[in-house]
């Protein structure tokens, strides 16, 4: 069929080429005529140029003129083509008999009049005559097809099976199809099958005829020889209806109409009349189908179904459903809202005896109310137990041991206790107060065994971590004093003596810091004194390297970097930093590597002492760092601040805290990790000590587990100062805390 069409169109083109030349001349006259009529219009418009309105918009004039002309030209061409087609059709009609869809007529000579007449064949009332016998798969009939717009099918076949919607391409597909298939432009959309069907040649012919304003019937001959019915000999009109001459208006254009039109034209030109905008809502616009996600909303909920009637609502219910008199009375007595049922079963012997349903309106109204109040969306309620959102932490009782009660109290008679030190074996505590008293006492009994008096208040106390010697350092105003506890074995005692006060001094080094040993006064005074530079103030912090040879001290003076590194074996002190940004708050030795933590007011910097370079800068986001400690594994650092924050850093992870704990209500004063147990404690000016479980896993993928365990309260807050320092007893889960109230408490598990 398609091939046949193609052939036909080829033929047509050939014919058109043949026909074109002789036809052209005939049409030029008609074109000229029409152009003339337009020219008249223009001339009239130009004649109106006297009006000032026209002068204002000369360019519109010209443009409109040219457009007009263009338009006319194109029209002319169209017409030409149509005429040509006409000719072709006329010629074709003879050849293609199968193109006829109208029944073919025959011209016969009438027996009665003797004139030729057209006779159409009889219509036989068989199946062929009926359109219902067509091979149409879709049997929905003449219904609006938009009913099926939302459905996957487009109707039903003769067997009642669904006729599925054929796939339809988008505009782009259509365009491509027109490019590839030359016959595609002759296809038309068939509503019934919802797809494009190529038009048959007859249908195309009808369309063409309709376009040309011709009779769609092929057999209709517009140029039949005229039959003179009223003119000619013997058929003249004898009596005209009127003898009046034809009026002038029959051939002159109306002046009033022209004036009215020109008024509108002027208004349009002045912009007083604005044409309505062309409706831009073109249905077949190309759009990106993947721009909007397909709505995956569930279909709306079906309306709740009305309750089905039960047996008792029957017009003829069984006897047992009928209410007794007592029940009826009871029913009538109760309020309508309280009734179990809103009807009384009634019995009628026949359906025709049932009266009109008096509650119909009410029932409909209630049904409408039900529908109105029915839920339209199925909401999936989120039933989340708020407790399930709390992270699962093991219970503190499973994380024993940790200090949970105050075992004993050691009191400094006057002055707040600023610092304390616990001996490496965990048996002794040295505590120093602001009156300059350093007391050495037993952890388990709390009995003071020795007391030293120094010149100024004690800022820091640290025991040397070495086990073969035993001494501790107390930092006071511009001095560091070294003390030896009593009751040592002679071996330890001798070694300590020789370390701190050697018989032969090592060669003196160039340093501003002087070391003085006094072996004689070792029993009651300090055996060794390091004189820090003048005006360096109170040492805020002392910290030992784990091997016990290096001691770092931080002085409180703001003027110069108060960090000094003291080497015991060489009796030499040096300042590790020439210049430091900001005042140093704290320093710490890394427990395993040659690294050095330096905390300034806001940042913690990690230096490699061996390579002399900055490794890392931790940014805790604390306004003023007060305390810091490093986990015994060396991979984690906790930093506490005066602004109550406690930050946990994982050095492997990031410069930002892994976790920030804000549990204290006042400034944090001191922090310490337990050297062996997975514990750390923080003390604060709110007078409380908080103990945390902090398990660090060797597996790098597992985050450290931090569980708050216990808040220890026992210190009084004096002048805004609470617990100033906490230290762990090294081998037991015991905590020693020094408070501003002059008490040192031991917390046991």
């Amino acid at each position: 069929m398609a091939v046949a069409d193609l052939k036909k169109s080829h033929k047509k083109r050939k014919q058109r080429e043949d026909v074109e030349e002789p036809e052209k001349g005939a049409f030029e006259e008609a074109v000229g005529l029409e152009m003339l009529s337009d020219e008249e219009k223009d001339a009239e418009a130009e004649s109106d140029k006297d009006d000032n309105e026209v002068d204002v918009f000369p360019e519109i004039d010209t443009r409109s003129d040219s457009e007009d002309e263009d338009f006319e030209d194109s029209e002319d061409e169209d017409e030409e083509e149509e005429e040509e087609e006409d000719e072709e059709e006329d010629e074709d009609s003879g050849e293609d008999s199968d193109l006829q869809i109208f029944p073919k007529s025959k011209t016969v000579v009438s027996d009665i009049t003797g004139q030729p007449k057209r006779v159409f064949p009889e219509i036989e009332p068989d199946y062929d005559s009926d359109s219902s016998t067509e091979e149409d798969p879709n049997r929905v009939g003449n219904v609006p097809m938009h009913w099926y717009d939302d459905l996957p099918h487009i109707g039903y076949d003769i067997n009642g099976k669904r006729v599925l919607r054929p796939a339809r391409g988008d505009e782009l597909d259509k365009f491509l199809q027109t490019v590839e298939d030359p016959s595609a432009w002759t296809a038309a959309f068939d509503k019934n099958t919802q797809m494009d069907k190529p038009l048959s040649a007859e249908e195309l012919d009808i369309i063409r005829r309709l376009q040309a304003g011709e009779n769609p019937d092929t057999n209709y001959d517009p140029y039949e020889p005229t039959v003179e019915w009223f003119t000619g000999k013997g058929k003249e009109e004898i009596m005209p209806l009127s003898s009046a001459p034809e009026p002038k208006r029959r051939w002159l254009p109306s002046k009033w109409e022209k004036q009215k039109i020109m008024k509108i034209v002027r208004a349009i030109r002045q912009g007083r009349i604005i044409g309505s905008k062309p409706t831009s809502s073109d249905k077949n616009q190309v759009y990106a189908i993947w721009n909007e996600p397909p709505s995956n909303q569930p279909p709306p909920l079906p309306a709740p179904k009305p309750r089905l009637p039960t047996n008792s609502e029957s017009y003829n219910p069984p006897e047992e459903y009928l209410p007794t008199d007592a029940e009826r009375e009871q029913w009538e007595k109760t309020e309508p809202e309280d009734r179990e049922r809103d009807y009384l079963p009634q019995k009628y012997s026949a359906l025709r005896l049932v009266p009109a349903y008096d509650r119909f309106i009410k029932e409909r109204f209630n049904r409408q109310l039900d529908l109105y109040l029915a839920p339209r969306i199925q909401r999936t309620k989120l039933n989340i137990d708020p407790n399930s959102l709390i992270p699962k932490l093991p219970s503190p009782s499973s994380l024993k041991p940790f200090p949970n009660y105050k075992s004993l109290k050691f009191t400094h008679a006057k002055g707040r206790v600023r610092c304390l030190g616990v001996s490496p074996d965990g048996a002794w505590v040295a505590s120093g107060d602001e009156e300059g008293v350093v007391s050495l006492w037993e952890v388990n009994v709390g009995r003071e065994v020795k007391r030293w008096k120094v010149d100024s208040k004690v800022g820091a106390i640290e025991w040397c971590p070495r086990t073969d010697v035993s001494f501790f350092v107390a930092g006071i105003e511009e001095k560091l004093h070294f003390f030896i506890p009593p009751h040592l074995t002679p071996a330890v005692s001798n070694l300590t003596q020789s370390l701190l006060a050697p018989a032969t001094l090592p060669p003196a080094t160039q340093s501003a810091i002087k070391w003085t040993s006094s072996a004689a006064s070792s029993a009651d005074g300090s055996i060794l004194t390091i004189n820090l530079p003048p005006a360096s103030g109170l040492p805020k912090q002392l910290t030992w390297h784990r091997k016990g040879d290096y001691l770092a001290s931080v002085s409180s003076s703001e003027s110069q970097g108060g960090v000094w590194m003291h080497q015991i074996s060489r009796r030499h002190s040096q300042a590790p930093f020439k210049k430091i940004k900001g005042t140093v708050q704290l320093v710490l030795f890394h427990p395993t590597k040659p690294h050095f933590f330096v905390a300034t007011q806001r940042y913690v910097r990690l230096y490699n002492l061996a390579e002399q370079k900055l490794l890392k800068t931790l940014m805790p986001g604390i306004k003023w760092i007060s305390s810091m400690d490093v986990h015994p594994s060396g991979d984690h650092v906790i930093v506490g601040g005066y602004d109550r924050k406690l930050c946990w850093f994982d050095l492997e992870l990031s410069d930002k805290p892994y976790k920030i704990l804000r549990y204290h209500t006042r400034a944090i004063r001191s922090l310490q990790f337990h050297p062996t147990y997975p514990l750390f404690a923080s003390s604060s000016d709110d007078g409380s000590i908080q103990v945390f479980h902090a398990r660090v896993y060797s597996d790098l993928m597992t985050d450290p587990l931090i569980v708050p365990l216990k808040i220890l309260r026992g210190h009084d807050v004096r002048e805004g100062l609470g617990v100033l320092q906490v230290k762990w007893a090294s081998r037991q889960p015991w905590l020693v805390s020094a408070g501003a109230d002059g008490n040192v408490l031991v917390w046991c598990s």
Binding site: P401, P486, Q732
Partner: protein, 448 residues
């Protein structure tokens, strides 16, 4: 009124006829005690305590007890009664300048105290100081009289352990008549430990001593005084120039003290040993010894072989003190978690690690003393041994001593507040006299 069938038994000299009583459920100890007093028509009212089924001492009403223990109404309760422990009474106090770390009333009619100032003091019951021995240059942690086989009432040997890393044996004469001669005589110094000593204790016959120290060692010593100094390693001897004050004091105390080395050393503890003592039935240099330490273990030692034969490991309980009941079957160990664990030493070693009970205290328990099985001769009319063998007294850091009955571990039988917020460091109990030593000196209390 609901009542309950009850059968009374007793081991006191006040037996009731064995018959079933119907006791109203709302009766308390007082009514039961009155019942027995009236039934026996005692001339002087004797208060009784009631032990239900050998497990619980009646504290509330009988009905509360039956409801709490789920005893049916038909079951006959067996209630044992014994004389109540009367509220303890303070007898006297002996002021001390320094803290008293150890107290002992094992010498009849005398009280031996050891103080943190390094002095051993001997008092008699009339509170007069008989002897003041400057035995050590440092704090004494423990002192005890060594029982002697010879019934020598004139003098006694006292063993003391100190922070100055030595223990000492000192002979103290008790008789005031020999006033011309020195009242004390330093016999020997025991050198072994490298850290302060925590306890010293003799065996029942006084032939051997055990010392426990912070360095994790236990020393076994005999009490024979050698004629010459034992060869003590030089590293243990005090340096002349480093410990001068100590030396001076020692000179004043004794010049002829012989140095001794231990017979054997028990090594097994991994941390400080807080107490080591002989089992009551151990003979001369054999038998068993027990020790406890900060490594949360209670160890049983074979004294002869010097090896640890059994270990009770308690998780995270650093032990502070250890005591054995008079029959040596039950060990009581005080730990820093404020409890006294009770271990039955007779049970097989596998179940030894499980304590059969615990006495919980509100403060750290520093010392335990079980009731001595044999009452002192002088205290006539004291409690019978059968009733006191279950009892013990603990002293705690809150200054309160508590009398417990092992059969009823829920609460203390009697509580006596010795001091307010001052630590009790040592308790001894002989007969009905409890002597308490601590931060504020010595107190004597009468119990029972």
């Amino acid at each position: 009124m609901a009542s309950h069938p009850v059968v009374f038994t007793t081991k006191t000299p006040y037996p009731l006829p064995s018959q079933k009583f119907m006791i109203p459920l709302h009766w308390k100890r007082f009514q039961l005690s009155q019942l027995i007093n009236k039934a026996l028509s005692l001339p002087r009212p004797v208060p009784f305590d009631f032990l239900i089924r050998g497990a619980d001492i009646l504290r509330g009403t009988l009905g509360e007890w039956t409801a709490g223990n789920g005893v049916g109404e038909e079951d006959t309760l067996e209630i044992e009664y014994f004389e109540s422990v009367l509220p303890p009474q303070r007898m006297s106090s002996l002021p001390h300048e320094d803290w008293v770390s150890s107290i002992s009333s094992q010498i009849p009619q005398h009280i031996l105290t050891a103080s943190y100032d390094g002095h051993i003091r001997l008092f008699d019951y009339s509170q007069s100081l008989l002897v003041d021995v400057p035995a050590h240059g440092a704090a004494i942690t423990s002192a005890c009289p060594v029982p002697s086989s010879s019934q020598d009432a004139e003098s006694s040997v006292v063993a003391s352990a100190s922070h100055d890393l030595t223990a000492r044996l000192t002979r103290i004469s008790l008789s005031p008549s020999t006033s011309a001669s020195p009242r004390f005589h330093s016999l020997a110094s025991l050198h072994l430990h490298t850290l302060p000593l925590s306890s010293i204790s003799p065996n029942t016959t006084g032939t051997h001593l055990l010392t426990a120290s912070w360095d994790g060692l236990i020393g076994l010593w005999d009490t024979n005084i050698p004629d010459n100094d034992d060869p003590v390693p030089l590293s243990l001897l005090p340096d002349s120039h480093s410990d001068q004050p100590k030396k001076k004091r020692k000179v004043t105390a004794s010049t002829d003290a012989k140095r001794k080395v231990p017979l054997s050393i028990f090594k097994s503890h991994t941390n400080r040993v807080s107490k080591a003592l002989f089992s009551p039935d151990s003979g001369n240099g054999n038998g068993k010894a027990y020790s406890c330490g900060f490594d949360s273990t209670v160890r049983t030692w074979d004294v002869e072989m010097g090896v640890c034969v059994d270990t009770i490991t308690a998780p995270e309980k650093p032990f502070l003190d250890l005591a054995l009941t008079a029959d040596g079957h039950i060990a009581l160990a005080a730990s820093t978690d404020r409890s006294v664990s009770i271990y039955d030493l007779r049970s097989s070693s596998s179940s030894l690690t499980n304590s059969i009970g615990a006495l919980t205290h509100p403060a750290t328990v520093s010392c335990i003393v079980p009731s001595s099985g044999a009452p002192a001769k002088s205290t006539a009319g004291s409690l019978d041994t059968a009733y006191t063998q279950h009892q013990l007294i603990t002293g705690a850091y809150d200054g309160i001593a508590r009398l417990w009955d092992l059969r009823s571990t829920k609460a203390a039988v009697a509580v006596f507040k010795v001091w307010h917020e001052k630590k009790i460091l040592s308790v001894d109990w002989v007969g009905n006299v409890v002597s308490v030593g601590g931060e504020d000196g010595v107190e004597m209390w009468k119990v029972g």
